[in-house]
Symmetry: D2
Subunit: 327 residues, 4 copies
C-alpha cells in the first residue's frame, strides 16, 4: 500500500523571489496572507515552513499558528534566521566574534522555542554564512570546534525539539564548512545528541555531486539521522532551486524509493525559488511530480526493485524504469 | 505520424571497454564477428559505425561491407582514426609537425574513400587529441588555421562525402580546440563547404553545459548543419558514455523533439562505453528508451508542444511532460 | 618596454554588495559620492564603468561626468540596464513581448548616447536575462533572430560608439543564449558591424570551462573583436566575482600575455562583488596583482615565452613560470 | 627553519601513460630498470611508491628493494592492486561476490606484508572500483558494511603497518563510495584502528570541490589521521593528474602551510600521469614547485600567516601572497 506523503513548503515559495541582480524581486512583494492564500490552493499541501524572526516571533507565534490553521495548514518547521542579515556575513556559529556566535545560538534557541510553541517540534538551521571565500581566510579546525559547541548548546536547550542541520557545499560562501553528507554526519555524530540530525536538500546534494539516494542511505546507516527533506532540482553545478523532478527524473525516483526503504517519516518540504514562475503553480507541479513518481514506485513494486538492486545490473535497472515510465 | 528513426551503433559498443586503469578491458576481447553477432540481435539496429583502419581498410572494405550485410546491418558511418595511437598525442590536424598534419588529413581522406566505397557517404572526425593540457602550451590562432586548412582540403577530396565534425570540450586533452557547439559552427562556417557539418554527441554537449536541444537548434539555424548524432548520457561533468536517457530524461525528450522539428534525417548512433555491462543489452536499452521517448512526443503532440514553447511558462511545460510521463 | 595598462572599475565595486539571501547588502548602502571617494584612493585606477539609468541619465550626464572628473577619474564605459529590473525577467532583446524588446533596444541606444556624451565611446550590454531555465521553455532559433536584429539596430544607431557584448553561460538564467566565446563570435559575425565586438569577463569564461587566453586569441582571430575586459576570478563553477588572481595565477598570466600579444588596447576593468570585503582594498589588490603579473611577463620576456609556446612542451612552460614566480 | 620534505613518486610516473583511447600508451613501454633510471635523476626524490603484484611480489620483494636501493632510492609505500584488473570491475571490498571480497582483502594483506618486508610500513588502498555507475545499482548501506569489515580485518592483520585509505569522488565508477574527506573520516572512525588513516590526493580533493588545506585540517582534527599525500593538479572537474601547482598556485600554498601546521610528517608523493610529457622532467617540475612554494611560506613566516588567518580578511591574505609571490 502506498505511503502517505506529508507535503510542506517554505513560505517564501509563495512570495517574491529576488537574486543578486533583481534585488526588488521578479514579482510584486506579497503579504503573509497573500502567501497563505496561494498555499491554501495547492492540493495535498499540509505544512508551511516558516523563517523565525521573519514570519513569526515569540510575540506573534500564537496568532501566526492560528492564521496558518485558518488557511487549512500547519506549521511544519522553523528555519532560524542565520543567513539573511549582514550581521552573519562572517559567520554565525563560527563567527570570530563571540557575541555574534552567542546571538546565533540564541537565534536557534528562539527558533526551537517557536518550534515547541507551534507544535512542529523541528528547526532547520542552515549554516550558509559559515564558511570562507578565499585561501588563508579561515581556521578550519576552530570553525568546527565552534560549530560543535554551538550545536551542543542548542541541543540541550530543548531536548524534545529536533535540530535538522541542512548542509550545502557552497553559496553564499564559496565554501561552506558543513558542505557534504559526510561532513554533516561527522558533525552530528560528534555532537552526539538524539535530537540532532540532518536535512537533506536535493539541490545541495546534487551540487556536491552526491546521489541523493546514497546520501539518504548514509544518514540511515549512521544513526537513522534523516530528520527533514527539502525538495527542488537543479543542473548539478549550482543551487538553481527549480521545481523537483524538472531535470532529474531517474535519480528522483531512486531517492523516493530509498526514503521509503529507510523508513523516513518526516516532511517532504518544497524549497524552490520560482523567480519567474507563479509560486502556487510551481508548488503544484512539484507535488504532483513527487506523487506521480511515488505511485510509479508502488507499481514497480518494492520486491522487484530490491531484486534489481541485488543484481547490480544497470541494464536490468534501466529496463524496469523504462517499462514503467514509458508504458 | 511518428517518424521512423534509423538506429546505428559504433562497433566498439559490442567490444570490450577499457579505461586508463583496466587497460586489458573489463571483459574479454571480442572478434569483429562476435561484435556483429551481438549487434545483429539488437532489435531496430540497422547501422554499424566503423573506425577506419581498425575495422576496415581499403583492402578489406568490400569484404567488411559484405560481412556487415550478412549480419543484416549496413555501414552507417566511418570514424577516421585520429585519436587512438601515440602518433596523434600532440595533435592531428593541428600538430606542429607538418608530416603528422598531412598524415591526419590523409587518414580522413582514406576514411572518406571508405565512406564512398561502403556507401554510407559520411565520416565522423573527432579531434580529441587536438587541444592542449597546460597553459603556455599552445598557439591557439595557429591551431585554428591548421584546423580550417585541413578540413578544407578534406572537403574538396570528395565533395559528395559528408564530413560531420564531432566537438568535445575535454578528454583526452584537458582542453580541446573544437569544444563547443559555438566553436564547431564557427569552424564549419569558415571552411564553408556544403559537405562539412557537425556531429552532436549528447555527452559532449552535456559536459560543456549545453542543452542538447538548443545545440541542435543552432546547428539548424546556421545552415542546417547537423549531419550526425551520437547517443549516450552522463552526469554532466565528464563523458561517462552511459546508456542514453539513463540520467537525463527531460532534456532527452526535448532533444528528440528538436531533432524532429529541425528535420534531422541522419542516423541515431549509439556511442556508449558499457564497461561493466553487456554491450548488446546496453544497446537494446538505449534504443528502447529513445523509441519510447519518441512515442511519448507523438502522444504529447507537436502542436501542443509548440504551443507550450510559445508560452515559455515552465509550469505548463512541466505539467505536459508530467501528464504524459506519469499517466 | 612594459605596456601601460588602463585600469577601470565598475562603480558598484565600491558600493554595497547583496546576494539572494542578504538582499539589504553585506555593508551599508553608499552614495555615489562615497563610491567615488573610495575609487579615488585606488592607485592606478583611471576609469569608472557606470550603469545607464542607475548612475547616470541623459539629464544628469554632464553633471556626472564632471563629478567623476573631479575625483580624478573618467567614465570608461556604460553598461545598459538590461538585467536588474523585473521587467526583463523573461528576456530583454529576446523577450516574447515586442514592446519589451523595443524598450531593451532603446535602453542600449540611450546607453550609447551616454557613451557618446561622456566620451567613453563604448557600451557593455550583458544579456543575462536572455536565456531560459527549463526544458521546453524557449524557441532557441527565434531568440537568436531577435538578438541579431536588436544588435543590428543598435549598431546602426551610433556607428562610432562601440558595443562590446558580454557573454556568460549561466546566471541569472540557468542557461543564457550568448553563453560562450564561440556563440559570442557567431553573434557578432552575423551582425557584421565594425562597432560590435566582445567583452571578455574572466569569471564568465572560467565557468564555461574556457581558458581565457584561448578566448582572447579567438576574438582576435575572428576579426580583432575583443573590445572590453572584465577582471575577476572564481572557483570555475560559478561567477564568484572574486579578486582577480586570487585563485588562478597561471592562467591569469597566460591571459595577460595574450592580451599583449593580440594588441588589446581597451580597459582592464574590475568587475568584482566584494560582498564581505572593503571595496577599495579589494580593488587595490586586484590592480596590484594584475600589475605584478604583467611585470613578471616583461621579465620572462616575450621572445622566450613565444619560444616556449612554439615548443608546446608543458615542462618547459612550467620551468619558465616557476623560475620567475619563485625566484 | 624550513621543514625537510620527503619526496616520493609512484613508479608509473616514469612509465608509459595510457588512457581509454590510446591503450598502448603515449610513449614506449619502459622496463622497471628504465623507470628507476629516470627516477634516480630527479633531484630530491627519495622514495618510490610501488604497486603490489605489479612491481613487486612476495617472491621478488627482497630483490626489488635491493634494486631500488641500488638506484639510491627507497620503497616509500605499497599500493594494493584493487583497480587494474577486470576482476574488480564490480567492486573489490564491496563486491557482491564473497570470494572477490576476500581476494581483495587478501590483496591488501599481501601489500601489508610487502610494506613490512620492504620497511616502508604503509599501504595506500584506493577503492576506485568500489562504487556504482547507474541509479538502482547499489545497496549503499551494505557496501559500507562490507567496506568497514574489510578494512577492520586488514587493520588487524599487521597493526604496525599503516593503511592510508585514498578517497576519490569518481572514476573509474561514476560514483565511488569513499568519495570525499567527510566520508573517508567517517569510514576510518568506524573502523577505529590506530593504523588506519587517510591518503589525501590533491586532484581527488579538487574534483570534489574541496579546498585541500581544509581537508588536511579535518584529517588532523578527527584524530591526526593524515597518513599519506599524493601530489598533482587538475582543472577541478576531473582527475587530470597534472604536474602539481601547474594550475592552482594559491591553494597549493595554503595546502603546504596546513601540512606544516598540522605536523604532517609523511611522504609528499607524486601521483601524476604525464601522458605527453617526459616523466622525469615532469617529476622534477613538480618537486621544484613544491620546494619553491615551501620556501615562500618560510619567507612569509608562520607567525604572519597565522595573524592573517586570525583576521579572516581576504584582502590582507591577498596582499601577503602577492608581496611574496611577485616581489
Amino acid at each position: 500500500m502506498p505511503k502517505k506523503i506529508k507535503f510542506s513548503a517554505i513560505a517564501v515559495v509563495f512570495g517574491s523571489c529576488a537574486d543578486r541582480y533583481v534585488l526588488e524581486g521578479y514579482s510584486p512583494k506579497k503579504s503573509f496572507d497573500e502567501m497563505m492564500e496561494a498555499a491554501k490552493k495547492v492540493p495535498s499541501l499540509e505544512g508551511i515552513e516558516l523563517v523565525g524572526g521573519w514570519h513569526l516571533t515569540a510575540k506573534n507565534a500564537k496568532e501566526i499558528v492560528k492564521k496558518v490553521e485558518d488557511y487549512g495548514l500547519c506549521v511544519s518547521a522553523i528555519i532560524p534566521e542565520l543567513w539573511s542579515s549582514a550581521k552573519w556575513g562572517q559567520g554565525s556559529f563560527t563567527s570570530r566574534d563571540k557575541k555574534i556566535r552567542q546571538d546565533a545560538i540564541d537565534e536557534v534557541k528562539r527558533a526551537m522555542d517557536l518550534a515547541k510553541e507551534t507544535g512542529c517540534g523541528i528547526v532547520v538551521p542552515w549554516f550558509g554564512q559559515d564558511g570562507y571565500d578565499y585561501s588563508f581566510q579561515s581556521d578550519y579546525i576552530q570553525a568546527w570546534d565552534f560549530m560543535v559547541e554551538g550545536l551542543f548548546e542548542c541541543a540541550n536547550h530543548l531536548p524534545d525539539v529536533k535540530i535538522a542541520v541542512e548542509y550545502k557545499i557552497k553559496e553564499p560562501r564559496t565554501h561552506c564548512f558543513i558542505g557534504t553528507i559526510g561532513k554533516a554526519i561527522l558533525l552530528i555524530k560528534e555532537v552526539g545528541k538524539d535530537n540532532v540530525g540532518i536535512t537533506l536538500d536535493i539541490g545541495h546534494a546534487l551540487e556536491g555531486y552526491e546521489n541523493m539516494a546514497e546520501s539518504v542511505a548514509l544518514a540511515k546507516r549512521f544513526g537513522n539521522k534523516l530528520f527533514h527533506l527539502h525538495l527542488n532540482d537543479n543542473y548539478r553545478l549550482w543551487d538553481d532551486d527549480m521545481i523537483p523532478a524538472s531535470v532529474h527524473t531517474i535519480e528522483m525516483i531512486e531517492l523516493l524509493f530509498w526514503l521509503n526503504k529507510t523508513g523516513y517519516d518526516g516532511w517532504y518540504s518544497l524549497d524552490i525559488f520560482p523567480y519567474r514562475e507563479d509560486g502556487k503553480k510551481a508548488a503544484i507541479e512539484g507535488i504532483e511530480w513527487i506523487k506521480g513518481l511515488s505511485d510509479l514506485i508502488d507499481k514497480m513494486g518494492e520486491k522487484e526493485i530490491e531484486r534489481i538492486i541485488k543484481q547490480g545490473d544497470a541494464t536490468q535497472a534501466s529496463a524496469l524504469l523504462r517499462k514503467f515510465l514509458l508504458s
